[in-house]
Structure formats: structure tokens, C-alpha cells
């Protein structure tokens, strides 16, 4: 019982990191990034090759994956998104656009790396701390702690730096932010880059916590989207709470019904929240 809870919470921390980038993009720019999972898998491949070719630890690979994904994010944002600006249904358009992007990434990854299941295997991954008869896997603990540190850093950045204020201002009111002198294009580009860098970090962790293959990103994105709808689209706190809640729930479902059915928890929770509170736990009515 407590054991399942611990495992759920540890996994929830990692989910929270994965979801934070996604919810940031929606909050700041109303972009639903269906390619988020695909970008995570790209970063996972980078981490995988750094580990197998150069022996770089997945945590050290954050130094590579985060800036790389930031740059990719900046390029992708600048080339694709400004054209959609001012479209009647901007959010829907971004869904289709990132859907296309996800297909392209999946196809290229599949072509280059084939569909083989991969995973890095650092020494701590199979190790665990034992406290009494409780069992705390080291890999998941480290991953969870790293995730929370990154989320905390993101929160501090948003609330204590000038760029962070500008990003927060965009979240609240895009037009008003522009009037008071926020450079919307620049700030949006940085936000998109940060969102992608978070996906990069998540990818590094994913590379050893889970096995991955090119087509897998659909499962990830569906899971993450369920999390942020539950938490309230665009809310960082909501993403963290939603992640922890659902990860714990999924851990119990997995224990009772077998791991096959644990993804179902996320989808059913999504439909349940749409029935009860369509704007999510932390969402404002307008955002939906």
C-alpha cells in the first residue's frame, strides 16, 4: 500500500516535469503542442547515444539535451507559428500544425533508428534504497528529485526575473502585455524554447526510466494531455498536482488490474473531469 504510493509519487514527479513544458506553452501562447511527446523521444535518442557511445550519464546529458531542444524550439517557433497568428481558431490550428510536426518526427525517427525498443542502463537504475521493508528505486528517486528541482527553477524564473514577468504577462493578457511594452514575438519564442528545453530534460530522464521507440510518443502525449486537462490547461500548479494525483492512481490501478490497464486511468480521468469540471482543477472558465 505505502509501497505503491511511493512508486506512484516518484513517477508523478517525472510526469510533472513532462507536463510542465506542455502546460507552459498552452498558458503563454495557447499552443497545444501535440509534438511534445515526439520531442521528448528525440531527446531520449540523443541521451541514449550519448550514453552508449560516450558513456555520458543521462543526468549529465541534460546539459546537452536542454540547450539543443531549446534551439530546435526557437527555430520551429520562428518558422512555423507566426504565420498562424491572428487565425480565427489559433489553438486548433496549432494542434493540426504540431500534429503534422509529430508525424514528421515519428517518421524520421522510425526511418533512422527503426522500431527497436531502446533504453539506457546506468548502474543506479536497477539499484534501490531499502528502508525497513519499503523499497525505493534509486533511478526513479533521482529522476523525481531532478524533475522537482527543474520545476522549482522554472517557477523561480517565472516569478523573479524580468523575462519571467513578461512571460507571465503574456499568459494573463496578450494584448495588454503588448501595450505595456512586452516584446511579444521575442517572449513567445523564449517561452517556446523553454517548453522544448523542458521536453529535452524529460527526454533525458525518459531514456533510462522507460523503454522507448519512435511510435511511442502518442502514448506519452495522450497521457500528458490528460494530466494538464485534469490540472487545468495552462496552470503549472495544476500540472504538478494532476501529475502526482494520476500517477498514484495509476500505480494502484496497475497493482489491482495489471500494468496493461494503467494507461486507462489517465483517459478515464480525462473524461471524468470533462463531465464534472470541464475547466480542470486549477483552470479558469475562460481558458477552456
Amino acid at each position: 500500500m505505502i509501497q505503491t504510493l511511493i512508486l506512484g509519487v516518484l513517477l508523478g514527479g517525472v510526469y510533472a516535469l513532462m507536463a510542465s513544458g506542455l502546460t507552459l506553452l498552452f498558458g503563454v501562447m495557447r499552443i497545444v503542442n501535440l509534438a511534445h511527446g515526439a520531442f521528448m523521444v528525440v531527446a531520449a535518442y540523443i541521451a541514449f547515444f550519448l550514453f552508449t557511445e560516450l558513456g555520458v550519464d543521462p543526468f549529465v546529458s541534460l546539459v546537452v539535451t536542454m540547450p539543443t531542444m531549446f534551439l530546435i524550439g526557437v527555430v520551429v517557433y520562428r518558422t512555423l507559428f507566426p504565420r498562424l497568428e491572428g487565425s480565427d481558431r489559433y489553438s486548433e490550428m496549432t494542434v493540426l500544425l504540431t500534429f503534422g510536426l509529430a508525424l514528421i518526427i515519428e517518421g524520421i525517427l522510425g526511418y533512422v533508428f527503426t522500431g527497436i525498443f531502446r533504453s539506457t542502463n546506468p548502474s543506479y537504475n536497477t539499484d534501490a534504497f531499502l528502508i525497513g521493508d519499503l523499497f525505493i528505486p534509486k533511478g526513479q528517486l533521482y529522476g523525481s528529485v531532478a524533475s522537482l528541482v527543474l520545476i522549482l527553477a522554472l517557477w523561480l524564473f517565472l516569478n523573479h526575473t524580468k523575462t519571467g514577468y513578461a512571460i507571465t504577462a503574456l499568459t494573463q493578457n496578450r494584448t495588454a502585455a503588448q501595450i505595456v511594452g512586452v516584446n511579444v514575438l521575442r517572449t513567445s519564442t523564449i517561452s517556446f524554447g523553454i517548453g522544448m528545453a523542458l521536453a529535452g530534460a524529460a527526454g533525458s530522464l525518459l531514456s533510462y526510466l522507460f523503454t522507448f521507440f519512435p511510435g511511442q510518443h502518442w502514448q506519452w502525449i495522450a497521457l500528458l494531455l490528460s494530466l494538464i486537462v485534469l490540472g487545468g490547461l495552462g496552470s503549472l500548479a495544476g500540472a504538478v498536482v494532476g501529475s502526482l494525483l494520476l500517477a498514484v492512481l495509476a500505480a494502484f490501478v496497475s497493482q489491482w488490474l495489471g500494468s496493461t490497464w494503467s494507461p486507462l486511468t489517465f483517459y478515464l480521468a480525462l473524461f471524468a473531469i470533462l463531465l464534472v469540471r470541464p475547466q480542470g482543477l486549477f483552470g479558469e472558465k475562460e481558458a477552456v
Binding site: 497545444v32 497568428e85 503534422g100 508525424l103 515519428e106 494584448t175 483517459y267 473524461f271
Partner: protein
């Protein structure tokens, strides 16, 4: 959001005078073509089976894209999981054949009915939200269906069900499937035309432009959306019943994949979302392109990449699609003007 004045993406301008006769002629020619195609056997010889198969596939995609257009085009609510109904129809007919011995051609209408009811239920839940949350719910719906059918032992899990062979005479073996799919495609196109010319269609186009304003005008937007969604589920289910039978097996990977969802959306958008003829044109075009590209490159991975690239290019540069762009420039030939 920055408000920028721009051309509305789907226009509700009053129907302008157009030559009625050329449309009637076009309709008759199309119907004749559909009827005459199976009779071409003595002329085309050994490629007849291939011809029938390709026509069946094209008609199936016409059905899927046209149905998607009801919710994704007219109402502007993008659904990325409408192939769930396609799969449910396929599985229902397959299970009834395997366990009861009923022909899928007889149970196909039943599949359509089940699709309608299921669409209504799913719509009631997912359409409580506007915009992005709806799309997310449809993705979740698709992955949930894939998970359930992958693990449901009664219908064979990931291996699916093998269906008994129909035992038609060899030389005409593909014709019944062709005929069934042709009827389904005609049905879905007729439904699309009917909706476009009804109060429902007008309401849907209004809410696609501005839902709040549509509501203020007294349109019961929620009911309109749910009806459109339920209708968009009917013919895909019928098509699924026939398609599964023609393959002689049903399997989750035949129906519940993201790439099928992507193709449906892409066809409707390339042809022109929110128009009657658009999805038909888009479906036929993309089936042809796919057939050529698979024959040439033979790789499904690269095919996915091409699908993605086309989707992005169309979205950024031709958001109105072929039919929509031509109409905007007043260059749409009368035989394609079905609205």
C-alpha cells in the same frame, strides 16, 4: 489574443446563382461511372481486381473524410479520433459474423446505428468543452479504444478476429465490397449535402466562426455540435463493417491507429474543410498519391513524413483547401460546386 480583421475561414455568403444543369449533369455522370465501373471487367482484363480494390479503398476514404467534415469542417471542431467509430463498426460486424454467422452486409446498417448512439454518448461528454480540450479528449478516446481492443480477449486481442471467406465467385469476388462501399460513400456525401443545406448546417457554420455570437443569436450550439458529432460517426461505422469483411480479418492496427485519424483530417483539409465536395476531392487525391508513393518508395515511415509535410504546407499556405481556395477566387468549376 490579438484581434486582427481577416477573411473568415468558412464563409456563409448567400448562394450565388450558378448553373444548376451542369451540377445535375455532373451528378449523373458520377453515378453512371460508379455503376459502370464493375462492368468494365471484359475491357480491363486481369487488372480488374486491382481496380475494384483501389476504388473500394478510395470510396472508403471518401466516406471517412466526408463524415469527419461534418464536425471538423462545418462545426470547426477538430476531432483526431473519429476512426474509433470506423473500428467499432468493423469489430461489431466481424463479431456478429464469427459468433452468429450474420453477413456484415446485413449488419452494416446496425453498425451505423451503433456508431450514431456511441457518437451521441461521446459527444455528450467531450463537447462540454470548447476548443483544445475537445481535441485532446478525442485523442484520448482513440488511444483508449486501441488499448481496449488490444486487450479484449473476446475479439482476439491484438491478433484480432479472422473472418470466414465470403465464397463469392472468383472473378467477381471484389464487386460486392465495391458496391457496398459505393453505397456508403454516396450515403455519407448525401448526408453532408443535406446538412450543408439545412438549418443545422447554417448553425454549425455560424458557431464555427464565433461560438459566443452564435449563442447570442439563439443557436443552441451545444445541441448542434452533438448532433453533428453523432452524425459524423454513422457512415464510418458502416464503412468499417464492410472494410473488415473485405480484408477477411479485423485487428486493432487496421482501425485504431493515429495515422488513419491523420489521413481523415488531412484529406478533408486538403480538399477544403467545410465544403461538400472538398473531402471527396481530397480523399481521391490522397489515395492516388499514397498508392504512387508506396509503389515508388515502399516505406511506410517516409509515407508518414510526407503526410506530415503536406499537412503543414496546406495549413500554412492553403488553409481553405483546394475547393475553398478555388471558390474564393471564383474559379471553382460548376461541377465541383456542391454547396
Amino acid at each position: 489574443m490579438v484581434e486582427v480583421a481577416r477573411e473568415p475561414e468558412t464563409s456563409i455568403e448567400p448562394p450565388r446563382p450558378k448553373s444548376r444543369r451542369s451540377r445535375v449533369v455532373a451528378g449523373v455522370v458520377l453515378l453512371l461511372l460508379l455503376v459502370l465501373l464493375p462492368l468494365s471487367r471484359p475491357v480491363v482484363g486481369p487488372t480488374f481486381h486491382y481496380l475494384m480494390q483501389m476504388a473500394t479503398i478510395a470510396l472508403m476514404w471518401v466516406t471517412l473524410a466526408t463524415s469527419w467534415n461534418l464536425i471538423g469542417g462545418y462545426a470547426g471542431y477538430i476531432s483526431l479520433g473519429n476512426n474509433v467509430f470506423f473500428g467499432v463498426g468493423g469489430y461489431l460486424a466481424a463479431a456478429l459474423l464469427v459468433y452468429q454467422g450474420w453477413s456484415p452486409f446485413l449488419t452494416a446498417p446496425l453498425a451505423g446505428l451503433v456508431g450514431l448512439v456511441l457518437g451521441l454518448i461521446v459527444g455528450l461528454i467531450t463537447l462540454r468543452t470548447r476548443g483544445p480540450a475537445f481535441i485532446i479528449a478525442t485523442v484520448a478516446l482513440l488511444l483508449m479504444a486501441a488499448l481496449v481492443f488490444d486487450n479484449w480477449e473476446l475479439v482476439g486481442g491484438a491478433n484480432g478476429l479472422s473472418l470466414p471467406l465470403p465464397g463469392y465467385p472468383r472473378e467477381w469476388a471484389r464487386v460486392p465490397f465495391y458496391a457496398g462501399m459505393a453505397l456508403t460513400a454516396l450515403g455519407s456525401t448525401w448526408l453532408s449535402w443535406k446538412v450543408a443545406h439545412s438549418k443545422l448546417g447554417l448553425g454549425l457554420r455560424a458557431l464555427a466562426q464565433d461560438e459566443t455570437k452564435a449563442e447570442v443569436l439563439g443557436i443552441d450550439t451545444r445541441r448542434y455540435k452533438i448532433v453533428a458529432y453523432a452524425l459524423s460517426a454513422v457512415f464510418p461505422a458502416v464503412a468499417g463493417a464492410i472494410w473488415g469483411y473485405s480484408l477477411t480479418y479485423v485487428r486493432p492496427s487496421v482501425f485504431f491507429t493515429i495515422s488513419i485519424a491523420a489521413q481523415m483530417v488531412l484529406m478533408a483539409i486538403i480538399g477544403g474543410r467545410g465544403t461538400v465536395a472538398g473531402p471527396v476531392v481530397g480523399a481521391i487525391l490522397l489515395v492516388t498519391v499514397n498508392e504512387v508513393s508506396v509503389a515508388r518508395f515502399g516505406s511506410s515511415e517516409l509515407n508518414i513524413v510526407v503526410t506530415g509535410i503536406i499537412l503543414i504546407i496546406v495549413l500554412l499556405f492553403f488553409p481553405l483547401g483546394i475547393v475553398g481556395s478555388l471558390r474564393q477566387r471564383r474559379k471553382l468549376p460548376a461541377f465541383l460546386d456542391w454547396d
